[in-house]
Symmetry: D2
């Protein structure tokens, strides 16, 4: 056999563009993955989605996602819509026997996420694969970090300090939008950026969060919308401390009003024998302190572009750095490898649900004066 795997991407704005880029390029860098064909790009505006499909290398465009899913030449459905439609589309795709990739967050609520996990489990029995798009797991420096933690290079991790800071809402004059209304967005920065951080904490430590204490804040409570001033009903900053099953503590701070931070995801992991630090705006670097060198030890700036580093064999010679979008290409490759191997890819829908439960606990804690909430699996 060997028809290429047909892909449909639902959504064609920011995430649709990033995912299209991944599907267009994955074969060039990961030739061992099964070949893919960019079958159809789906969106609501027929003309706009057709233009996008042309630009991004798609065979076809469409406005009806149900029809797209139903196509025989589509094997993989990649959901890049806003969170409130993730569940509906992904459930339909799984039911149609298509492998599914869902952009993060998996869903807007825990019940929805639970429903997706159940559907994914059932689909898996039929060989249908599903994954959620926490692309930062694919940053080579973070993949390297996870490996170093797993092999004990920094000893047993005790505490993690994490932040994800942006500033696009710092200006009080920034306008109202659907992202700032609870009914459409589900939550604010906690769900948007906090979900990445929580996933990374659990992923890097390989240890689930079991309790959380949190605080939310809306610094700009009213913004001007099309119809005048309107209340902002989601958080624009959030703080939490998380405790894992293994007894580690992670502190988390996320914000959309941190002036000067554009895409400021930072991580610090402190173990009993070393430490790791990372910042997304310098995503090709990892800083490792593992005590080597005795009194002349210190944090080592690793430029993560060596052929031995995760995924780097696929790209360029040492020192030729990758960008943000390459993480999606790696993500596509790992999904394709799982499909080819008949294994379940990660992060799974269950991973996505795990993140959702932690976010939910943080919100509950914030509404109870910070009291720590337990997370039930």
């Amino acid at each position: 056999m060997s028809r290429p795997l047909g892909v449909a991407v639902i959504g064609y704005s920011f995430m649709g563009k990033a995912h299209s880029n991944a599907w267009r390029n994955v074969g060039a860098f990961f030739p061992q993955t099964p070949p893919v064909r960019q079958q159809v790009l789906v969106g609501r505006d027929a003309e706009a989605v057709r233009a996008a499909a042309d630009r991004y290398g798609w065979q076809d465009s469409a406005t009806d996602w149900r029809a797209a899913i139903a196509r025989d030449d589509v094997d993989i459905v990649d959901v890049c819509t806003p969170g409130d439609s993730h569940a509906e589309i992904a459930l339909a795709a799984l039911a149609a026997g298509k492998h599914v990739l869902v952009e993060k967050p998996l869903a807007n609520s825990v019940p929805e996420a639970e429903q997706l996990v159940a559907a994914a489990a059932s689909a898996a029995e039929r060989g249908v694969r599903s994954a959620v798009g926490f692309n930062y797991r694919r940053v080579p420096a973070l993949a390297l970090a996870r490996g170093l933690v797993a092999e004990g290079r920094i000893g047993r991790v005790r505490q993690v300090r994490a932040s994800y800071l942006q500033d696009w809402l710092a200006d009080p004059a920034a306008p109202m939008s659907w992202r700032l209304r609870r009914e459409s967005a589900g939550s604010g920065v906690l769900g948007d950026l906090g979900s990445h951080v929580v996933d990374l904490v659990q992923h890097l430590l390989d240890d689930p969060v079991v309790a959380a204490s949190g605080r939310l804040r809306t610094f700009v409570p009213t913004r001007t919308g099309p119809a005048g001033p309107e209340p902002v009903t989601v958080d624009d900053a959030a703080w939490a401390t998380l405790e894992t099953r293994g007894g580690r503590i992670a502190s988390v701070e996320v914000s959309r009003v941190a002036t000067g931070r554009k895409n400021g995801l930072t991580l610090e992991l402190y173990g009993d024998a070393g430490a790791l630090t990372f910042e997304l705006e310098r995503l090709n670097e990892l800083h490792l302190h593992d005590g080597l060198g005795g009194p002349s030890s210190g944090f080592r700036r690793i430029v993560v572009t060596e052929p031995e580093h995760p995924s780097l064999h696929a790209w360029w010679p040492p020192g030729h750095v990758l960008g943000w979008d390459h993480t999606f290409t790696i993500q596509a490759a790992e999904l394709l490898e799982a499909v080819a191997a008949g294994t379940d890819p990660r992060p799974s829908f269950a991973d996505g649900l795990g993140v959702q439960r932690v976010l939910d606990a943080i919100e509950r804690s914030a509404h109870e004066d910070g009291r720590t909430q337990t997370i039930h699996e």
Copy 2:
């Protein structure tokens, strides 16, 4: 008039050495301050304190702090002993009509601190001055930061992210000591490093903390003392979120087990028009984002060594950096200036008490599952 002001320092180990250095050098750099004379260094071991006094430039040494305080030629008493004797010595010195500088933390408990504040207030009516030694207020970069905040260069501050991380207890084999027993030390890293951070938050924002939520952790619960394994009864890491009267939020993380961090005090202040960041291991630098430059804006690395920068006129030409110990010299100068001017120096005992109350609220919160505690003045 014009006898130099006589100084007594009580304590001759780490802090005694740092304060001696300040008194020995203050006149060389701040010639406009009243002249001082290093009269007497006080410690419990007669031979050791005599040797220290010789090294550090003191006229005399002594073992009886009461007698030292009583000397006619002593005008300023500088208390560098462990925290559990601060109150007794400072109260005696104030009662004897001597100006008093107390190393931080002001005292080991809120009631002690309250007693000291009352005594200081009464002494102030008689022209007797008192101050607590939060020397990091004197880091020129932080003095500059406070000025920039006050003049609105980063707009109204919304959130602060602060940490103070060290690693001298990271190794589980590090031995038991008095600092790790609650009865002698009062608290762990929260009191030791957290007090600095809380003071800086309140000082930089000029806005008191009114509520706190916290978490404490002892990662290494047993350590080996002279008589074998012994329980560690204080925290070796602590986390808090603080809310100020003005509605700002500050997150705080302090640790003695953060492998690779030696003296890692970091501060990030985010305002609605800019941001400031600082790290103590590079104490001559301040990073400022104030939007200047339009699309080419960004964090500006200010080397805080220009003559216009706080206290810098006293030292060297631009680019000739200061060290950690210079902050004590500046602290001494500011105390002397207040004495000369007949004004009350800052940070005052009341400032020290304010810090103590915040630390106390964090501890209470930690014992109530993270529930936010209100701070009553």
Copy 3:
């Protein structure tokens, strides 16, 4: 009209892969450029080039570059072979009326480069375009830097400090290769990395180099080849000071034995009103000192990902960083724009010749004890 422009790339290893990536993606990010079609990838090994063509998205592969050039459906010939075949292929392509992009360096010698310039001038009269692939001009941070210099933001530039340091030959056990033989490689690190640096100096300042003094060194004079030890006949490090027509001085240091540097191109420009610094391993950042902020001025870290920054509108939101390979995509876009507009793209063959002449002067100086050599146009 509107057949897409057909492209042929000659060469399919490192540079062929990077250029293929650019042609595959240029339309997705720069939709206003004329559409292109990846017609044919050319290489000497039929099987290998066919596999590469499949991976990289080419319609066809071929082993005969002359036949590829002659194809009616090929409009652009992109030469990614080693330097010793640049001239022959490019001349043939121009003669065939095809637009030509030649990887840097333009040629292995000044006479060859001169021949190419003449052919390009003659072709330009017939509307045939040519360009040389100094892709680092397309790093957005460097494009921004050039604009800032041009608009006087750092005043008149006086001195430039530049380096390009790698370490793949640091180990004396690294084997002999064609790159280390003068007859095949033309020169060593001077031609390879020095050409980038010299081009950037002239480009950023918009001021040609008119005199040069230099020094060359082969630190490892013998390496082991297939037939045993063999003399290394090119330089593995080089130094130069360059003087421009406008009287600026640039210092240049390039090396393949700078242990720890992977792709370490650094630039510092000092003007009478400010300065700029850049390093390629952090290619999304530019550091600008323009005196803004008065006594609180300093180097500003600009994250060059704002929509106002050069080429950034084509990519992602602020803070979502680009990688090394994106520079080739931008290069392809700018070539296509010139073709569409009927203008001559830059860097031109004349620019490439200019670089060659400077490199030649450095070599001559090195052979005359460092004596400064004048560059004649």
Copy 4:
């Protein structure tokens, strides 16, 4: 026996202040050195020098340096005057049997320096010690660097890249001064900052420079003095490449017009097994790449404040950073140790002469179009 060693400092401005600070503090940090007594500070303005002597802790002040040298209670003469009087004062002091410390540069010309070396050699036979004040050898990070090089931690060093950049003359409106006239200053930035760099290159490598090629430039050829516009007769920027006896190459760039650089001394050493980098504005840090960690190697940021690091036992706990002035205190301690031990301190006058000869060769080369000049010992 045991009268403290009496010190006279000649000169009381910038360097006099820094050296006074060292003598005042050396005993507090280096108690094993022989005790010193700050006998007399010497300057031409009686009133000003008296005030300075009071501030800086001197017993006495004086205007006649000959008389000061002759005092029986003076054992060490520390020459902090401008370079044109170094020779005269130092020769007189040695003749009087006093140990001598001379600020760098040793002298304004090679012949003067040779005379001083001869006098020092003769004095040494009588147990009289002499040293030149290249204080940057005492930066703990650089002392550590030298040790690491000596023990082979970066293998055999091949190339060094060094710069010392300041900007106090960047503004063309900066006024004329004696430092910009050849007759008074001897040379420009080459002698002032270049001497530090050349000394460090030779010191860190323990390998003398034997050949040099150079270039000088005066970017602002006319400045306004008290009597109107006047020609600047010294260099304000200089470049050189140096070759050592052992075949290493060092590139040097020094400038007083490098806008944004305040005290920007940077060093990069590349060996065949590793590399070291340093910058003076962060003088507590050394970056070491020694290959530890295999594929996860990289430059390690060593915070040079551990008790095992050079001179650090004398100061504070780990992470408590030193400043620029501490280097002079360490310099004083090392001189005192040599005096006590009856050994010849380093850097010696011969070291100072060695630097002078290299600077002279650079100047000669600059006047011969960059032709390499050999340095004869």
